[in-house]
């Protein structure tokens, strides 16, 4: 009886999971379907999941009209750099905040939370002026700097949680065994933090990869613009859009983050398991 209940409960869980996955996947699948549909199928009253006459015309048109490859390269540089720099800065800060709980670190944590509530519009003009004085307008470096600053609070917050999850006893044991502070950090703490660092980097990457408003305002020339900005060039006034090319370009824009997530996700899981065994 108990086994049967357990099986039915498990079946229910799988059905719920499947439903959830379908729900999550729907927009992406529809995007793929739209990307391969000719214009006349896009205007059909009875749209189909599978394009009746699949075409690559939308992709051709998208590449023909906008510098998508250049934009993708810019996005990749900005997002990867921002993720890397944010993690390099946030990791030691998070360690300090997690291991030394003082009023200052509590205030810093509070500030991190509050800073997430600031709307972009409030920040953009002072930020613009600062970057202008630094001659960093229309510069990918300027944008990377903004992305790092933008990602840093949340990255810090995430990493503090990961550091706290690492038992201090492990570091103490390493110390008792004669390991130096640096050796303890490098050989014991950092490996255990690896999944958290990777997850944080992924968060920073995706945030930067998808970001639109800062890129729109800070980058002026077409050769500097990132993918989210270039995607808006397929949109007209009052919601009019070149739907096919837009879907094709948006589909291509989602691929890098999907691929990255697919690759890194295994490492996150692997790292978590490794951490569990050690602790």
């Amino acid at each position: 009886m108990s086994l049967r209940t357990s099986r039915s409960a498990r079946t229910g869980q799988y059905v719920a999971l499947l439903g959830y996955l379908v729900f999550l996947a729907f927009p992406f699948l529809w995007l793929i379907s739209t990307a391969f549909k000719p214009a006349r199928e896009l205007g059909s009253l009875h749209p189909t999941w599978i394009p009746e006459h699949p075409t690559l015309d939308n992709f051709r048109q998208a590449f023909d009209e906008q510098p998508l490859l250049q934009a993708a390269a810019n996005s990749l540089v900005a997002a990867l750099s921002a993720a890397l720099i944010a993690v390099v800065i946030a990791t030691p800060m998070a360690y300090v905040m997690a291991r030394h709980r003082t009023r200052l670190s509590a205030a810093a944590t509070g500030w991190v939370v509050v800073s997430q509530a600031f709307p972009f519009v409030l920040l953009i003009i002072p930020l613009f002026l600062i970057l202008k004085n630094l001659h960093l307008i229309n510069s990918l470096w300027g944008l990377i700097m903004v992305y790092v600053v933008w990602a840093l609070p949340f990255a810090l917050w995430m990493l503090v949680g990961y550091v706290r999850a690492v038992p201090p006893e492990l570091e103490e044991a390493a110390s008792v065994d004669g390991a130096s502070r640096l050796r303890t950090l490098v050989s014991v703490t950092i490996p255990l933090l690896a999944p958290g660092i990777v997850a944080t980097a992924l968060f920073a990457f995706i945030t930067a990869w998808n970001e639109f408003f800062f890129a729109l305002v800070l980058l002026k020339t077409p050769e500097k613009q990132t993918l989210p900005v270039v995607l808006t060039h397929f949109l007209g006034a009052e919601g009019a859009a070149e739907l096919g090319p837009l879907a094709a370009a948006a589909f291509l824009a989602t691929l890098p983050s999907l691929v990255l997530f697919a690759v890194i996700q295994r490492r996150i899981t692997g790292g978590m398991l490794a951490g569990a065994v050690k602790s």
Binding site: K220, T232, L235
Partner: protein
């Protein structure tokens, strides 16, 4: 503990130094005596982008001393992007926008007054009613160059089979006749669609106000003291009343379309679900691209009221940034872009009508193909959109008028409540801007 902190501090310092050393550079300045202008265009359809880029190329080839860089902007976010650029003193020299977006920039001192910069040829070529859309206070802050009337795009087969009178610009439907026609087109059987019309009213305010001009609707009234107040007269009730009756009383307008954008209604038009949809003139391009083989369609004028075929528009504009050090050169470039043959190229690229009298007379814009002739015939009835220069209009539109009209059209509130909200709540909003 200290080593990581020190490492982090060192890394942060090094990063800051590295970043401050990497400058992206700006633009719009003289180098070796050559003037460099940045032209931010909002063209987005391929033909339109191509036309703009080609014109920039032609200009650059013939003006070695004034070189123009084409910069792509987007309609979706142009206001915030420009505002930030103005505040940061990094605005493009030549700015493409819509006239209803200019008021705040003009009053804010961000745009140059063009009166002394533009040549007489261009000033005389564009009619006074179009200049009114870019005149704020005593200054002119943009050159209106493309505009589009709202038209009815109709399924020709359904219209012909139903036997209703086909309207022309010379003999349009009245609003009463229009209501009757949509009833006749609704139903089942030959010559009938599921609905006579689909009103895509995701953004109901501009449609309601702009079409309201045909029946004398004004809504915004400027007093002797210069202050604007909202008042609903008889003429203001015609358009919203007709739509409400079509949706709620006659059931000749699709209720589900009320939340749609213009593009969303096209599949229903192509599939015979709707006999007609009221759309901007430029939507013809999407019809041409997306309509199934054999779909026959026609462009009809919007219904006429006591003021004939008048309707409000917010033309696309070209402005010059006040901060530009090369205003005269920028105005010269605008003059080049808007020479009649060039204006025709831009209009064809955007599937819109030029404001210029000479360009509008071009035979290419008077063919019956794709409804060009019908649109061109409507041009003389186009006026400045009612709320064009009213400060506080965007807030009134978003916070008061949009939800009120949406609720009214869907039948959630009645006419008295609509009037109360548009007028009482609306005047409170406007008052804050006019203290």
């Amino acid at each position: 503990m200290r080593p990581p902190v020190r490492t982090a501090a060192a890394a942060a310092t090094a990063l800051a130094l590295l970043l401050t050393g990497c400058s992206g550079g700006g633009g719009g300045t003289d180098t070796n005596g050559k003037i460099e202008l940045r032209f931010q265009s909002l063209a987005w359809q391929k033909e339109s982008v191509d036309a703009n880029k080609q014109l920039v190329k032609e200009w650059n080839a013939t003006h070695p001393d004034i070189q123009v860089e084409y910069v792509q902007g987007s309609w979706d976010s142009v206001h915030d992007q420009l505002l930030t650029s103005f505040e940061g003193d990094e605005a493009p020299d030549v700015i493409h926008d819509a006239s209803d977006d200019l008021a705040d920039f003009a009053y804010g001192g961000y745009l140059a007054d063009l009166r002394a910069l533009l040549p007489d040829r261009l000033t005389a070529d564009i009619p006074e009613q179009s200049w009114r859309t870019t005149t704020f206070g005593d200054g002119v802050y943009g050159v209106p160059f493309l505009q589009e009337p709202r038209v009815l795009i109709a399924n020709t087969k359904i219209l012909k089979a139903s036997g209703v009178r086909i309207p022309t610009p010379a003999n349009p439907w009245s609003w009463d006749e229009f209501r009757q026609v949509t009833k006749e087109l609704t139903g089942k059987g030959k010559g009938k669609a599921t609905y006579g019309i689909a009103w895509p009213l995701k953004e109901p305010v501009s449609v309601t106000l702009n079409l309201g001009l045909s029946s004398g609707g004004q809504l915004f009234h400027r007093g002797a003291d210069g202050k604007v107040t909202i008042r609903l007269d008889e003429g203001d009730q015609v358009v919203p009343g007709t739509i409400r009756d079509q949706v709620d009383t006659d059931h000749s307008a699709a209720r589900t379309a009320l939340g749609m954008g213009g593009s969303d209604t096209l599949p229903g038009l192509f599939g015979g679900r709707y006999a007609m949809v009221p759309l901007g003139f430029s939507y013809r391009q999407q019809v041409v691209e997306q309509a199934p083989e054999g779909f026959e369609w026609k462009v009809l004028p919007a219904p006429a009221g006591s003021d004939g075929l008048a309707q409000g528009v917010s033309p696309q504009t070209l402005s010059v940034a006040e901060s530009s050090p090369h205003k005269k050169a920028a105005a010269q470039f605008i003059d080049f872009l808007l020479r009649p043959p060039n204006m025709v190229r831009l209009a064809e690229g955007d599937w819109m009508l030029p404001t210029g009298t000479a360009a509008l007379a071009d035979p290419a814009l008077h063919t019956t193909e794709n409804g060009w002739a019908t649109g061109a015939a409507l041009a003389k009835g186009l006026r400045s959109a009612p709320a064009q220069s009213v400060r506080g209009y965007p807030e009134w539109k978003d916070k008061v008028a949009t939800p009120a009209l949406q609720e009214y059209y869907s039948g959630a509130i009645g006419r008295d409540e609509l009037n109360r909200r548009l007028v009482d709540d609306g005047n409170r909003v406007l008052a804050r801007y006019q203290r």
